[in-house]
Amino acid sequence: MKLKLNSLRAAGIGAAMLFALPAVAAECIAPADPGGGWDFTCREVGRLLSAEGLVEGNVQVTNMPGGVGAVAFANVASKRANDAELLVATSTVGITQIAQGKYPADIDTMRWLAMLGADVGVIAVAKDSPLQSVDDLVAALKADPTSVVTSGSSGAGGWDHIRLLLLAQAGGVEALDQIRWVQFDGGSPAVTQMMGGQVGLVSTDLGEIKGFVESGDIRVLAVLSDDPISAFPDLPTAKSQGYDVTGYNWRGFYTGGGVSDDDYNAWVERLKTLYDSAAWQETAKNSGLEPIWRGGEEFTAYVAEQKEQMAEISRQIGVIQ
């Protein structure tokens, strides 16, 4: 095993030399307080970038919380647009904010590097809940949209909320704006409040509440992925129940809009090398992420497309005009 790791490492270094990538010193901005998803993305990717020899020394992680990433976005746009050593962590949540006009500028202000994996949305109820499937949920909401109090870790109009509404919409629930939504500071607090009987349903990332799925304290009505996920193959997808809805929360990075093509391409290459490493595949799996790669132009196009989708959904459910 050790030999394998070493040879992989050598391969990584070899690849780096092949593409003539000089290792750089690097900084990763996590636009949130320590402990959250973006902080985790910076710390894990930073640790691996340095362990795989893709950057010089350690990656410095800087926490710059504020406005669900808006403060870091504004800071990079105005002060560090040309900084080729900078990575900023972001995710679907950030794109949702941009789509709803909550960031100081649009996506073309930045250069979008890559996504390395995605957390999968999950709709869960307490183990003693009468709801057994998405059909039950949709039927209950159709009969009375206030009958199930729903909750998650984003505010109303955030990604956790939107994913749930997409599912309800796919099921033909019309009174989307009457469904009650409660915001908690994270997926696991929401789940414990559900276990205490305060709310009836939680919509969040699977990675946040993995522990409760394993312990059997909650019942997952649906995971919002295309295929059953590797870590929990028994959990039913929404698609398998006839609802064509997915809700990924990808994790990735952008850098300043003034970074040169060469530096930009070098970062995409470095991240690709990292993505292909055994260490990342292992880390992603352990933290409940499905490894998914999109990089460079493909990723930029994907971000633009997702932003349009989010704006459309937000208009439909009345979050923006």
């Binding site: 402990g35 710059m64 522990g211």
Partner: protein, 502 residues
């Protein structure tokens, strides 16, 4: 006696030389981090994470190091609160109320010893509670819903009217000011920006720690400048060594404070600050017969210190049994567990007994280390007061700027800090206590979030606030508490107004 066996195994893990070394190092680093204004346990723990990776520590050793830092910070926060009237972190604000007056009377060493012992009692009792009742308490905490949390904050605000010696009306006004400042920023439940004037820097509102450093540290310096102009002096260093008799005076208060703090700690989100506030106001009501609280009463130092240390022990219960962060610091510790490939959650006790019990055992050891470390250091800390003002004051300014900048890396927050400093100076000139301002800001945000959650659940019906039996019990206790203090103050023929504390 399953617990004892497992605890014994835990001690076997914690007593490994590497882990012992980490406990000592963590306690020392934590004390310093806690004492520096601005730098608190969240940052302290976050700073050390890369170090654990660099040393290749396993999950248990990493958690032991971080917990030692966490406990150390709770001990450390009191030091600058007592010596300089500048709380090192949020939970230490209550310690300024009686700690600093003691220092002004030349009893800094006594105050440090009392608070050190109180911290030890609080943290040790909380660790015992954690050992014996963790799974049981976690089950009970689950049934605390948003309307119950709201009731708890109502109780906290109802009781702070009497915490500072000044006019209760001014205390309430100051708390109201804090509550108003707390509404700045994105409304968490709908994402609507309030009072941000289009500035993204205000989207997250005022960080309580930035407000705290500004209100206390910067205003203290402005005061010093003014007093210097009038020829006033610094706090006298007084005795270097504490007296045992004074320490004894705080023992009863420590025990009562520990219990209240522990309960506040178990409830996720309430945390150490609430624990310290409730411990202090409760202690003041039942023991302040001569009106000495606020003028340097040892019991006023012991109660909040025992309270905040017990609360941080209590906060580990939801973290270990449910994987729910009870505070910012435990959120960071949970994130690190995940990155070390350990899934926090209800199964942690079953799956990683070595980690859980090793950690619990390490907490016992850390408490002793902190006590042993802190008592001899008292002499060193009090000598800080002997430093000439031209050296000490610029140092305080520099550390305040550094600490605040390290939290958000935004120059904007430095300006916010200075703004709060000027506000603090003006308020103190007008004889307002600053503690309720910070409490309004700190607790008001959580209070509002829980109110909004309760109303989201009920669809806007306010009756939800009084439909939970837990909330009703809390309201009944609050009413009883207020009636009792009314009766007590009648009997004492009114509250004697205390001189302002600057």
């Amino acid at each position: 006696m399953d617990i004892l066996t497992q605890l014994w195994n835990g001690f076997a893990v914690a007593a490994l030389p590497i882990n012992l070394a980490l406990i000592v190092a963590g306690c020392f680093a934590g004390t310093l981090i806690g004492a520096l204004p601005g730098l608190g346990p969240v940052n302290g723990v976050a700073i050390l994470i890369p170090l654990t990776f660099a040393f290749g520590l396993d999950a248990t050793s990493s958690m032991i190091l971080l917990s030692a830092v966490y406990y150390g910070c709770m001990y450390g926060g009191r030091i600058s609160a007592i010596l300089l009237n500048i709380p090192g972190d949020e939970p230490a604000i209550m310690t300024t109320l009686d700690g600093y007056p003691m220092a002004k009377k030349g009893q800094a060493a006594d105050a440090l010893a009392i608070s050190g012992v109180a911290s030890f009692i609080g943290a040790t009792l909380a660790t015992i509670g954690l050992t014996l009742f963790a799974p049981l308490l976690a089950k009970a905490a689950i049934y605390f819903g948003p309307s119950d949390y709201f009731a708890l904050y109502v109780m906290a605000f109802a009781t702070i009217g009497g915490i500072s010696g000044t006019d209760p009306r001014k205390t309430l006004l100051a708390a109201l000011l804090g509550l108003m400042l707390g509404t700045v920023g994105l409304d968490p439940s709908t994402g609507v920006a309030r009072y941000t004037f289009g500035s993204f820097n205000l989207y997250d509102g005022f960080d309580p720690i930035v407000a705290l450093v500004g209100l206390f540290a910067i205003s203290e310096i402005l005061f010093f400048l003014e007093e210097k102009a009038h020829g006033g002096g610094l706090v006298p260093p007084g005795r270097v060594f504490p007296r045992l008799t004074r320490v004894k005076e705080g023992l009863g208060a420590s025990l009562r404070g520990s219990l209240i703090g522990f309960i506040a700690g178990i409830l996720p989100g309430a945390g150490a600050s609430l624990g310290a506030v409730m411990s202090y106001s409760f202690e003041k009501r039942i023991s302040d017969k001569e009106g000495t609280f606020g003028t340097g009463d040892p019991r006023g130092v012991a109660a909040p210190e025992a309270g905040n240390n017990a609360a941080s022990g209590g906060a580990l219960i939801p973290m270990l049994t449910l994987g729910v962060p009870g505070s910012g610091t435990t959120a960071v510790m949970l994130a690190m567990l995940i990155s070390l490939n350990i899934q926090p959650g209800p199964l942690l006790f079953e799956r990683s007994p070595d980690l859980v019990w090793g950690l619990v055992a390490a907490l016992y050891l850390a408490n002793f280390v902190l006590l042993i470390l802190n008592l001899p250091l008292i002499g060193m800390f009090t000598r800080v007061l002997g430093m000439p003002a031209w050296g000490l004051m610029p140092l305080v300014v520099a550390i305040s700027y550094l600490g605040v900048y390290a939290i958000t890396h935004a120059a904007f927050d430095l300006m916010v800090m200075v703004g709060f400093g000027i506000l603090g100076f003006v308020l103190r000139k007008l004889d307002f206590s600053l503690v309720p301002v910070v409490l309004g800001l700190l607790l008001g945000m959580d209070m509002e979030n829980n109110l909004r959650r309760a109303l989201s659940i009920s669809g806007g019906d306010f009756m939800v606030l009084v439909q939970s039996p837990i909330a009703l019990v809390i309201y009944a206790l609050t009413a009883a508490f207020l009636l009792l203090s009314l009766w007590l103050s009648r009997r004492q023929n009114g509250i004697v107004p205390q001189p302002p504390q600057h």
